[in-house]
């Protein structure tokens, strides 16, 4: 990909909106806007994290029993898949910064593959939970191992699974949106939309992708790990 200097400058001038002084100011403003959006996203997910915290404090044993049903191998594999996807995403943004659209397209396509890998593994887990009646609703069924409060605990385990499906479901929805955005970057990138002077969309979708990875980094220990062994 040999872009002449003149072509590069033309693209850059086209990309500079009239209300910004220069490309640097435009880039910083666009990145700040993305961070503000991600801040609202943190609050969006925090509602669910807060609900998890309240109900876990209230129905600790039910939550411990519910999390015994999690497949740690698949959960850990998915964590690794997401971390790998974040690496290829970060390298993809780097390729865009250096003006290598083909390298960027390859790295972003690998990122998309990791994204589908994550959703595929998640689908296997969802299927396991579904056939085991671990989906909240009329067909929910849970054999509690606690003889003291079998009926109440089964009910409260349903709360655990409601939160599990809501939190991982919302996260998976973000993955689907992320894959769509990255696919758009690949196409636009190959059409020559981005240069070292103008790669704001690549940078911002990168931020979004890493944010979704960040949410999973907390979901994984909270839903899968922390109740696996419990002293009390």
């Amino acid at each position: 990909m040999a872009t002449s200097d003149i072509g590069d400058i033309q693209v850059a001038e086209r990309a500079l909106q009239h209300h910004f002084a220069d490309m640097e100011q435009q880039r910083e403003t666009s990145s700040f806007g993305m961070w503000m959006f991600l801040l609202t996203e943190i609050m969006f997910f925090s509602g669910l994290f807060c609900a998890y915290l309240v109900y876990r404090a209230s129905y600790y044993h039910a939550f411990v029993e519910g999390s015994q049903k999690m497949n740690i191998t698949l959960g850990a594999t998915n964590t690794a898949v997401l971390i790998c996807s974040s690496l290829t995403m970060a390298l993809g943004v780097r390729a865009a910064q250096m003006g290598k659209p083909k390298l960027m397209a390859i790295l972003l396509l690998i990122t998309i593959l990791f994204g589908f890998g994550f959703l595929g593994i998640k689908a296997v887990e969802y299927h396991e939970h579904w056939v085991n009646h671990e989906f909240p609703g009329p067909n929910f069924h849970f054999e509690t191992g606690d003889p003291a409060h079998p009926a109440t605990d089964a009910q409260h385990t349903e709360i655990y699974f409601s939160l599990y499906w809501a939190m991982t479901g919302l996260h998976a929805l973000h993955m689907v949106i992320g894959i769509g955005l990255v696919a758009w970057l690949v196409i636009a990138g190959l059409m020559g939309a981005y240069t070292p002077h103008y790669y704001n969309p690549v940078e911002n979708v990168g931020l979004y992708w890493h944010f979704v990875d960040l949410v999973w980094i907390y979901l994984f220990p909270m839903l899968y790990l922390i109740s696996k062994k419990h002293g009390g």
């Binding site: 880039r27 915290l53 044993h61 939550f63 690496l87 409060h149 109440t152 002077h197 909270m222 419990h230």
Partner: protein, 111 residues
């Protein structure tokens, strides 16, 4: 603070370009921490299980935000945004829990 307005001399790129080796190193640390947190979860160390899991998650999250999300090379305004997010999250969780955990009249059947 990190310099944020530096222009890369080779490519003329706006913004800081981190070396690829740095990203690979961060990736390796994240993978090791993931393995560590899974292994620790299989050992019963009482309440410390939760502490270790959340501390490791926070270290991982910090690495992602600082390096993959370029916060280390971003303007102070961005840093302030992130700190604000963490602060509001702290408000939400702490004020909610001070309420729920101090309601002597509510019963917790699960406990």
């Amino acid at each position: 603070m990190a310099k944020h307005a530096e222009h890369n001399e080779e490519t003329g790129s706006v913004g800081h370009i981190a070396p690829a080796k740095l990203y690979v190193a961060i990736w390796a640390i994240l993978m090791v921490l993931t393995l560590t947190t899974v292994l620790v979860s299989m050992v019963d160390i009482g309440p410390m299980n939760i502490v270790v899991a959340l501390v490791i998650a926070t270290i991982k999250g910090t690495l992602v935000v600082l390096f993959f999300m370029h916060l280390r090379y971003s303007p102070k305004l961005t840093m302030a945004t992130v700190i604000a997010a963490v602060f509001w999250l702290f408000l939400l969780l702490s004020l909610t829990m001070t309420d729920y955990l101090t309601r002597a009249w509510s019963t917790y059947p699960g406990r």
